[in-house]
Symmetry: D2
Subunit: 315 residues, 4 copies
């Protein structure tokens, strides 16, 4: 597994549990061919802590969702504490199903439960399908499925994997108000050898800047002058320093690329703090933009040789 | 009330309910001296819908929190649908208390409930204070307080206002893992006459740009060349157009200011779409940066006169 | 004549004389169909002074040469003193001929004279054609031709028009070391109604900035954000203020265009001083770049209407 | 002499002659303590050619004048042909004197001569001092002094050094219309070891860019993002490639400085061509601006180490 320190025994994976959530499905996709132990954790913070403490070799956590946006717990969990790096990204369709005990007819559903986030994304459809019902909150979508299986409620909004696991029937296949949501998960581990460049990579980082006019503009300029595209930028309040802001960003390219390396070094000079969060293969099915000729590794190498000649008085 | 259409009778305010949440406390501060009806709503979307439909004259909703970041439901609710504008902002300290029925000793607490967001912000302290307990999710912090009052659970993590309302005692005053959190609420209404400039104003807007390299850099440049500081910028996925991004921003100044007006007009030209979300008095206790002389209204007026002279052939 | 105040009698034109120089040829092209008096002047300064004093209605002076670069006397003469504006530009091929009295054989040429600038542009060819001769300086290329006619020297480097005027024969047609030189002349007059936009115009101006880092970058940014191309930029020391620099620029478009007008007004705010030097039809046979849709007059008008609506509370 | 290849015998210096011009005075200042041969050359091109061919070890040529601006022959002579580098700059006050044969009274002056450039800079004062006289052109200011000594004309506008050399008396000490002119000369040689950084250096270069909108803006941005101030920028038409422009620039700092080196390497990538013209001690009596902390060599070294750690997976 690229980017992960070798493990004496088989690797241990933490993920945002409980079993039967989307995170478990994403983990299965991420490490399809790998063995290893899978430990559900009660929160993103707990999953990251397990990696930091060495209890796990890697953790799979959600980073952002195409409908709900970024996941604050993951953003902050990666920005603070001991360094962790992303070694892989996984995109997962997050279709919600309406699951019931086998044999339950729609008209027989008297109560429905799910995690409040899932209820928020399905409130419109639920109001149509189950008029008059007040959905009940549960600790997770999987917990709602378990509650259905236990007979505590009649229906759950959950992942298909949870319905299957708890032996439930699917009454409606996709009950999201805005169908087609995709969640991006990342696999993170303690720092170690980076995944090798694949030619279609992304690099993640967090930059912290003071309360200065134009600080963000300066940041962006360092990417722009080197022909690097950003694919995501989020601002977050910093928890520890008042009136400082952190910008969480993904750019195209690998830190091993000259242009990306020089840009990151520039951020290190210009920002109050920069945290490298990993370079890894792009997995959203899209191709990075073509690198402008003047930003290619060849151009950097040639320019470096020219500069060396100039400094040596040979040109 | 500036920015609100005159109401034949007393104004009606919607807010993110239920009663006893922080939003009600913020509303009380926003309209301290105003009368009017106050209608709690089950969701941000419902509160905004009440204004759009005319059922309410204004709605008070949370926009961002100093610890948790922006509130997606409000961001998206203002960006999509019929136009709404912010006419006022309110900052509220959001201290969570641990509330119990009068006479309950700490050792007697066998269960604790709250909204999952509140539980996330207090999980560390709760683990210390009530070791071994698995917190239960509730639909809102106020609902948890009500459940305590009803004897369904022993303790609630809620606002002081809820403890008071349900006749509970406060066991711990501030149980947040990161104390000092502040939530920024905004009062929004249907478009109408803008609040008059106060000299210390902010302007909010949403800009939608296509998937082009440098689009954000272009956006920021329009503010920078006119000497305008941004106080907030958030990127959000657009729900309706794939691969388009929306940037939600606050800048210093009022749209009535020349520099702000020209910058917004420039965004209107340059972006795929721009939505004006209001100009209103800054209320976070800070002063806007000094406007550079070349960006003052006087400089714009003088430049405009000079240009008119040039075009008339008089210079 | 666009841009010139109506003259009670026929117009009077000053130009950089004497008769028989390239400036006279350029003037003939500029005012081909116009009548009027033509007064040669001993210097660019004198030609401009004649217009300022009212002795002339317009002056034709050289602005830049494709080989030698800008003409300092014209740059400074337009930047200082009472305002003057360019109403037309004329491009003229400036081929130098080697002229002798009729019947003079090449081998019989014992002396050659011309203006030092012309000698500088032909020194290589002259050394080949007339080896061993030390060229003599003259006050103008036409004066050299006159000296040949008077028998004072044997050959002159001059314009074809001068050879013709003084009855000389042309020994060599084009003696420039870098053939193909083109000089750009401009017709200037006192401020008055501007030439109407033609759809393919240029605008000239001089901006004075203090000794600040990035001042030029700021200047250029004002054009860049509005989609305006610069076709020329020259820096000049300012004669009157030490450590201030002036930038003489031509941009595409007419000051009547929204984008150009807004950019000039921005320079007026940002710079220590800006002098408008005219908007006039482009005459170098090239087309302006296509105006980006977001920088078109239509886009500005629409953005202005949108802004007016926003300010009126209608959006 | 820094930057010059070792010479078996004593060094040979070429300069823009003839003897008695300002260039000779500047050379004396530049190499005050050095011995060596001094060869006047008839033109800037000839002086540079002498260095290129090895006939001279270095050449002293004028680069720009505080009143007249840049010297095209030097700009182009350094930009084209085999590479040459500047190893020293010298600033010289260029006061023109009005010189006559000893005993000549002002009223007895019937003719005056000088190089046309000198006549241009003194025409106003000459018209006052010697009303009614038409100045005569000469090949150089020193040639005019020689002509006075020879009795061919009565007065010369020349350098004090020329009056002295030809045994003339000074009638008027400073006859410039704009007194206080300063000419900047540069000493150039074939490429070799660079002068060591002094802490107050300048770097000169020529960048060639195609006819693209924003090319100059891109150039300037490479300096701006690295905290480097430009002290001079001139645009010149390129002689060899139509519609390509060259920008001749001086920036603060030495190419051995990290920020300058990285900026030059960036220009090498981004521009069609870049020519390094030398790093040398600043000699205009001014101090470079303070280098921003984030652009210091220390910051670059630290950032480089951080990047190496990131790439090695150690962070």
């Amino acid at each position: 597994m690229p980017g992960m320190p070798p493990s004496p025994s088989s690797p241990r994976f933490a993920y945002l549990g409980p079993e039967g959530t989307f995170a478990e499905a994403a983990l299965s996709r991420a490490i399809a061919t790998a063995g290893g132990r899978r430990d559900p954790q009660p929160s993103v913070a707990a999953a990251l802590a397990a990696v930091r403490s060495g209890d796990a070799d890697a953790a799979l956590v959600p980073l952002e969702n195409s409908v709900e946006g970024s996941v604050p717990a993951t953003m902050d969990g990666l920005a603070d504490g001991d360094p962790l790096v992303i070694t892989r990204e996984v995109y997962l369709d997050v279709a919600f199903v309406l699951a019931v005990r086998p044999g339950t007819a729609p008209a027989a559903v008297r109560s429905v439960a799910s995690h409040p986030h899932a209820l928020a994304q399905t409130s419109g459809r639920l109001a149509e399908l189950l008029p008059g019902l007040s959905p009940l909150p549960s600790a997770s979508t999987a917990a709602a499925a378990a509650a259905v299986a236990a007979g505590e409620v009649d229906a759950a909004v959950c992942a298909a994997i949870a319905a299957e696991r708890y032996g439930l029937d699917t009454l409606v296949d996709d009950v999201a108000d805005h169908p087609g949501a995709v969640t991006r998960f990342v696999l993170v581990s303690r720092p170690g050898p980076l995944p090798a460049p694949t030619g279609n990579d992304k690099t993640s980082l967090v930059a912290i800047v003071g309360d200065r006019t134009g600080a963000l503009l300066e940041l962006l300029r360092e990417f722009a002058v080197r022909g690097i595209s950003l694919t995501r930028i989020e601002s977050r309040p910093t928890r520890e320093r008042h009136w400082f802001y952190s910008f969480s960003m993904d750019c195209e390219g690998h830190v091993a690329d000259s242009r990306v390396g020089e840009a990151l070094a520039a951020l290190h000079r210009v920002c109050d703090d920069v945290r490298f969060l990993g370079s890894y293969a792009r997995a959203d099915g899209r191709e990075n933009r073509a690198v402008p000729p003047e930003s290619s590794d060849e151009a950097f190498v040639e320019a470096g040789q020219w500069l060396a000649g100039v400094r040596a008085g040979e040109i």
